[in-house]
Structure formats: C-alpha cells, structure tokens
Amino acid sequence: MTRRITTGIGIALALLAQQPDVTIKIVGERGRIKIAVPEFKGPGVKAEVLQTFNTTLWSDLESSGVFEMASKSFYPTEAPQKPEDFKAPLQPPPQPPRRLRPGEAPPPAPEPKRQGPWLTDWSQPPVTAQVLALGSTAVDNDRFALSGWLYDVTKPDAGAAHVFGKRYLSAHDVPGARKVAHEYANDILQKLGGGPGIAGSRIYFVSNRTGNKEIWAMDYDGSNPVPVTQYKNLTINPDISHDGTLIAFTTFARGNPGIFIHSLETNRRLTFYNQVASLNATPSFSPDGKQLAYSSTVSGRAQIYIANIDGGNLKRISNSLGVDMEPKFNPRMGGQIAFVRGGAGPPQIYLMDADGSNVRRLVSGGGDAVNPAWSPDGQRLAFAWTKGFEPGNYNIFIMEVATQTLTQLTFGAGRNEHPTWAPDGRHLAFSSNRAGGQQVWTMLADGTNPKQLTQSGKNESPVWGVK
C-alpha cells in the first residue's frame, strides 16, 4: 500500500473527506438530470486507456436512464480539472449611491470580473447543465489513477456546489480503465439518488456460440463475453445469487437434467445433491443465498421444492396436478415465491408463500404467461406473456404486484422473453429475436432505449448479477 499521492491532491482529498455525505436529488427536463462530462486528460496515460476511460464513462452515464447528456460541442474550452481550478469572478466594488438628473438613464450594473473557470460556464446557456463531472487521470506507480469529482453547478459558490470527490486506482490497461470508469459512474449515480449503479454489473446468459448451450457472462453493456461453463452438453436456466457470488443452472451433463451450482469467485463447482428424479431444473436462489427453490419430478409431475444450498433438507411446497416450473423468490420478501403452473390450461404465473400456502393466480386474460422476474425492490414482477398474440409470440410486461397494474414494454416485435432486472431497478435485460436470431437485449424499465448486447450464435435467458 505504498501510494504516492502528490501533496496538492492529498490536501484536496483530505478536505473532500470532511465534506458531509450529501445526496442530492435534481430533476431536469423529462425527469432527467442534465450532466456535462468533459474529456478527462492526464500525463503519461496510454492513449487507448484514456480513450477507453472517456468512452466508458460517457456510455455508462448515458445508458443509466438517469441523465440527459449535455452536448460536448457547447462546452467551454477551459474545463476545470480539479476544484482549485474554479476561480470565483471578482465582484466590482459597490458604487456610492448618486442622485440621477431628470431624464438620465441609470448606469449599467457593473459586470463581475472573470478570473477563470466558473460554475456558470456550465450552468448557463448554451450548456445549461445541472451537474458537472470533472477531474484528471494520471499514472501512479505504474497504475492508472483517476481523481474524479462531481459538482452541482446550479449552486452559487464552489463549496456548496461540491457533491463528492474520490480517487480511483486500477491497472494501467484497457480493462483497468473500464473498471475505474464503471466505479466512478456508479458513484455519480448513487450520489444523485439513482440507487446503486449498474456499471460493473454483469449479465449471465445462455449461448450456443461454441456449438453447445453453455452459460456465459459479459459486462452489462455486452463487452467482455467469457464462458462460465464448459460441459459440452446442454446447460441452461442460469440464476445468480443476490450477492453475485454463486450461479446455479440446469445441465444435462450427467444425463437427465440436474442442477449444478458454481462459485463465481473460485469458478469451482459446489456440492449440490440432486434428487433421484427424471428432472431437477429451473433453480432460484433465496435472498440470503442459503436456499434454492427449484422444480423436481421426484414425486411424479414437476413440482416446486425448496432445499438448502447443498441440496439437503428438501421440502415440497407446491402440490398440483399440473406442471410447476420456474420458482422465483421475492428478493425483499423471501417468504413469497412466484412460479409458473401449467398442464390444466396454458401456463400462468402464480404467487404462493414459501410454505406453499396462499396460492393465487397473478395474471389472467388468456395466453401463456411465463418467466417471472422480481424487481430488486420486490414490488414489481416482469414476465413474458403472449396476450393478444399467437402462441410463442411473447411480449414483456411488468405488474405492480400490490395494485396488479400492468405495463407493457414490448409490442409484437418478434419474440421477447426471459426478462431480468438490473440491480438499479431501472433496466431490464431480455432475449428477443426482433433483429433475426435470438439475442440478449437491454432496455429501460419503461420499454425505451432497447440495445442489442450479443451477436454471436443464439443467446437467451439472461440474468443480471450485481457483479
């Protein structure tokens, strides 16, 4: 831990550390905060590292759904790189009051004298931003270093405008630059009341790009895809524990479909006892990561069971003459489970308590309703529904569970299914064939801003992990 920090920055950070931990809430046009993000610079940083940092930071903030990005073409040429760069304009000395002669126009109020970069450079037209990200990059002991701040430029003085400042360190390479940009973007979002950011979160999904369906992982924006499993068989139905450290899935690697659990920290398979059954599938982690709900045919038809994370202490919790699949623990109310029941009519989404009581059908109105996915706050359920379309032509809907209010997010653009919520509760990933083959997409939770994340092979069943 031998960090060499220049004296100036050290003092600045010491001062920043004393600032109260403010969280501000600013609402701009269309409910979004307008942010200015000038290019960051710094001596000694490799060109591709600096470029990766700047484009990743911009993209993270833009895709967050929280910001309106102030156009770079309007930025002043002189951007501050640290708080000391702000120079308050000199106010002219007050003029002694003087009696005006009749017909004499009042003299113009004296202009403040500009001393250097100032908040109003950013808050007034043409930029008209509300907040400004500023800072600089450097190389520190062969590592990539960022000193990043956030200023509320609508405030009258620099002290009041300061929101936060922080120093970030990572490897001096492209992945390091991405990591630092994600962390800085997340901090900006968090401070502005946007909840946890998703920059740095990962999406796990099923891909057949190697010829077999395997679990893959990628950054939330689709970059850096890497294989998680290599069973060279059929491996599907991923679910991520809420802390992002465990992944469970269904695999045919041992013959009949069974559940495997891997640690994402060691990339090792953990022990999970599969019931002797023709099928053990569609696992879902409890909020504390200590239990797994899944579907098993151990007693005949596929029914919902809960077991410990090693497969022990099995409890049957659904009891139907139908086929019960896809249990999903409510992340806030672990005692509540959404699941899919079919077999006596088309599959539909039901709710029940974790002891199996209080079963009730949630979605009504015809068609198949499948793939329930809880929002992080446990209030909303996203799912895929064929309502109004032929079998198989699913669209993504969200239901506010308490009020049963429905919102439709996609509208017949092919087959849209497997919704999963981002940790920020503002984004969803899903799979869609709207652009041809089945691919993983993201969108905002109001259905806008769809983005295709995958291209290679067929990709489906995304689940969004916090890391």
Binding site: I236, G255, P346
Partner: protein
C-alpha cells in the same frame, strides 16, 4: 504260417480292444474266439474281396476327394479313371473336373473282385454371403418402434399415439426377450412455441405418459426410463404446424 500269424494278431487285437474298453467301464465278458476263422484257414484259395469309398462323395469343381480302398485275398489292384495300378489297400486324392465313377479291380489267387465309388462334381457355388453381423439393439429399436405424437401443450395420449404405443409395446416385449439386457429411454420433446422452462416439465409429462401406457400393456417398467429435452432438441426447426407436430413427441431410444 501266415494264417496262424493272422489268427494270433486278431486275437491280440481283440484283447487290446477289450482291455481298453475295460479301462472305461466294466466290460461284459469277452465272447469266445470266433470259430469261423479257424474253419476258413482250412479251405482252398478264396475269391478276393474289395471295397472302395470316396470321401466326400460330392465336391465342387476345383476341390478334391479322397478315395479309400481295402481288399482281402488280393495280390494286386488297379483303379479305373486314369489312376492305374495301386496297392491292395490305400488312399488317393483325386480332383475330377466332372462327375466320375471310379472302379477298383482286385486280383487274387481265387479270382477278381470289383467295387465302385462315384465322385459327384458340382459347379462352383457363388460365394457364400458374409455372415450376418450381430444385430444392434439401438438399430433394431429404431426400425421397430415409432414416435407417439401429442397436441399442443398436452401430454394426453391421442388415438394415433395409442396405436403407435400399442404397436411399440408388442415390439418392445419381443425385443426385450431377444436382447436380455436392453434398456429403453423415452424422450419427451416439445415444439418451439412455449417457454423453454415450462417445456422441460411438459416434455417430462409426455415421456411419462408414454411410459405409463407401455407399462399398462405389459412392458416391464424397470426397462424404461424417461428424459425431457423440452424444446432443446428439435428434429426440425421450421415455424409451421407440420414441423411443430413432428417435435411434439415421445421418442424411444436405446438406453445404457
């Protein structure tokens, strides 16, 4: 002198045969020495006797047969068919190109004797077909059973599936006798339309419904297992009812 020797040899031979037989089991008492031999030795020169056999008596062209002959009271012998003078007993390998009768004439002090044997020559047979390969259970199964098809989002056994499974039950019962250690896996499959997750459960129902039907018809259940592939292993991928129907099925394959 010679006759006396012969008599001694015959007696000795009989004794040896009886002795050998006595090693294996309790022998009946030996018959008295044949008085006939003693009588013939006192008669004048007898007519010779001769016998001739061909082994095998029927060959394909290009193969050979063995002539075997023996005689008594003979001093010389010859065989027709291009063989000529031979000993009074012996063997000879012959390869006639057509059916041939061989006649042996044995000559002795008491006159002549003849015997014949025929070697039948057949045209060369076409090469025999290679021996049938051992039958493979998985191939037999694929040939003798058929898929059972289902309605959309259903695991009910339709009339056509009932007919298919009834025929399958007969075939399976026969095959289980022919292949004593055989096992059969019933795969449940679905069309592409429903969700991948729900179809795992539905495919399991289809495979189990087919299994239960076969068991009711007397197929031993311990030979049958089920697996659902949901919609993950379609046999066709077109998006039309023809292909969807082909994928909504219970399919039988050989198990391990």
């Amino acid at each position: 002198m010679r006759r006396k020797q012969q008599a001694i040899l015959i007696t000795l031979g009989l004794t040896l045969v009886l002795f050998a037989a006595g090693c294996k089991k309790k022998a009946p008492p030996p018959p008295p020495p044949a008085p006939k031999e003693a009588m013939t030795t006192q008669q004048a020169a007898k007519r010779p006797t001769v016998s001739l056999t061909a082994e095998p008596s029927s060959i394909e062209r290009g193969q050979s047969a063995t002539l075997r002959w023996s005689s008594t009271e003979a001093t010389g012998a010859s065989i027709s068919g291009g063989i000529g003078t031979v000993g009074t007993s012996g063997t000879r390998s012959v390869s006639p190109t057509a059916t041939t009768s061989y006649t042996i004439t044995a000559t002795g002090a008491g006159g002549n004797a003849t015997a014949s044997a025929t070697v039948t020559v057949r045209a060369a047979a076409p090469p025999a077909p290679p021996p049938a390969p051992p039958r493979v259970f998985s191939e037999e199964l694929a040939r003798r059973v058929q898929d059972a098809y289902f309605d959309y989002d259903s695991s009910d056994i339709r009339d056509d599936a009932r007919a298919s499974l009834t025929s399958n039950a007969d075939a399976l019962k026969a095959m289980i006798r022919e292949f004593p250690n055989s096992r059969v896996v019933l795969e449940g499959h679905c069309d592409e339309r429903g969700s991948a997750e729900y179809n795992l459960g539905l495919g399991d129902r289809r495979a189990n419904a087919a299994k239960e039907f076969l068991v009711q018809l007397g197929v031993p259940g311990d030979r049958l297992s089920v697996i659902s592939y949901g919609k993950e292993r379609p046999q066709c991928t077109e998006s039309n009812e023809g292909c969807w129907q082909r994928n909504r099925r219970a399919h039988l394959v050989a198990g391990n």
